[in-house]
């Protein structure tokens, strides 16, 4: 359904134009985040803007949203002399907001592999529900992103974009390093 919307709104994509892209994201937590929620996130989206600098280089902005959720089975959590047993419902929302730079490895073919970097901030919101209580940890983190992907020109006016991105939000006082890999598929069209 989302993909249908994407196709409907794809207007044009040109090799030497700035472009917008909307992508659906599937994500996997790593490190501390993967320990907290091991399940795959099927709720995610990404909006990108890329400005033309040269035929090989684009700079722009990424704004994403990924929702992670896991229902942990009844378990016991012990700290010191205290133990607490119950079911936990764990949620984590990640909102990366990044400035980006992409480098196209190939420019003269329909299939254009590229690599990219991002720098900016990521809002992390972690909620743990147990009994009738919710325990929340929120933090704005300094974030870096590495990316590899493919742009495939369907025709002169539009392209499909497939990207694998790794986000890392750096440790703050309230939350440790938060990292995740996201696989993104969407459409790009020129502005």
């Amino acid at each position: 359904m989302i993909f249908g919307f994407l196709l409907m709104t794809a207007k044009s994509y040109g090799q030497q134009d700035s472009y917008m892209s909307v992508q659906y994201s599937v994500s996997f937590g790593t490190g501390d985040m993967g320990d907290y929620i091991s399940k795959t996130s099927w709720r995610g989206m990404l909006i990108e803007y890329r400005g033309y600098v040269s035929s090989k280089i684009f700079v722009g902005m990424d704004a994403g949203w990924n929702v992670f959720y896991e229902n942990k089975d009844y378990d016991t959590y012990t700290q010191g002399t205290e133990s607490l047993s119950g079911i936990q419902y764990r949620y984590q929302n990640q909102v990366p907001l990044l400035a980006t730079l992409d480098y196209l490895i190939v420019t003269d073919k329909a299939l254009k592999p590229y690599v990219g970097l991002g720098i900016g901030t990521m809002y992390s919101e972690r909620s743990t529900d147990m009994n009738l209580y919710r325990y929340e940890l929120n933090s704005w983190q300094f974030a870096l992103k590495g990316e590899v992907g493919l742009l495939y020109e369907i025709n002169y006016s539009s392209a499909v974009k497939l990207a694998v991105k790794y986000y890392n939000g750096f440790k703050t006082n309230s939350l440790g390093n938060q990292g995740y890999v996201s696989v993104n598929l969407g459409m790009a069209w020129s502005l």
């Binding site: 909307v22 709720r43 949203w65 229902n71 047993s85 079911i87 009994n131």
Partner: protein, 199 residues
């Protein structure tokens, strides 16, 4: 531009809320908390006493009000479950608390939280913004139940009776007593307290 904005908005809505899933059944709220005094040597002890009634905390006992107790058969069901767990950990029950190393004090209480909504008409017409005076509020409520088990030591090493183990079982009440929820949680309190085992 407007079309694109609607398009972005529709995708955000399609993705659902930021807190998907959650509690479905009353027992999903059940939690068991335990804590103990790690300087107390449980292993060297082995005799405990327990009252034959579970007190229901309501009113103010310090003000001289009579204590209430849990009704039968729930009282006996809970006490038997506690006793069987203590036996399994090697403890011997005595009738006289003066002979006991530890005394187990079980207690229960309920807590009802009421929500009142009386101002939700206000957005439509300011005349309705008067608050309580304009009719009955909408009310909803929930009730939680707690079973507290405390092991108290008053041997030579303590000047005053001292709590050395506490278990607090809590969950959302459905309105009907569910013995399996209570039994399971009592068992869990002892399962997560292996240090209670005596030689």
């Amino acid at each position: 531009m407007k079309k694109k904005f609607i398009f972005y908005l529709s995708i955000i809505i399609l993705l659902g809320s930021c807190h998907p899933g959650g509690i479905e059944y009353y027992e999903d709220t059940d939690v068991v908390y335990t804590n103990y005094d790690d300087s107390f040597d449980f292993q060297s002890k082995g005799v405990y006493a327990i009252p034959d009634k579970i007190v229901k905390l309501e009113g103010d006992l310090l003000e001289g009000e009579e204590p209430a107790f849990v009704k039968e058969p729930y009282n006996t069901q809970m006490l038997n479950q506690i006793k069987s767990n203590m036996t399994a950990l090697g403890w011997t029950k005595t009738e006289d608390p003066a002979d006991a190393d530890l005394v187990m004090f079980p207690a229960v209480w309920t807590n009802t939280t009421l929500y009142y909504y009386y101002d939700y008409w206000c957005w439509y017409y300011y005349y309705y913004c008067g608050g309580w005076g304009w009719g009955y509020p909408s009310v909803s409520s929930y009730t939680t139940g707690t079973l507290l088990m405390t092991l108290v030591a008053d041997g030579d090493e303590y000047i005053d009776p001292t709590r050395v183990w506490t278990a607090n079982i809590n969950g959302l009440l459905s309105g009907a007593y569910n013995s399996s929820r209570v039994t399971k949680s009592i068992d869990q309190a002892f399962t997560q307290s292996p240090y209670l085992k005596t030689n």
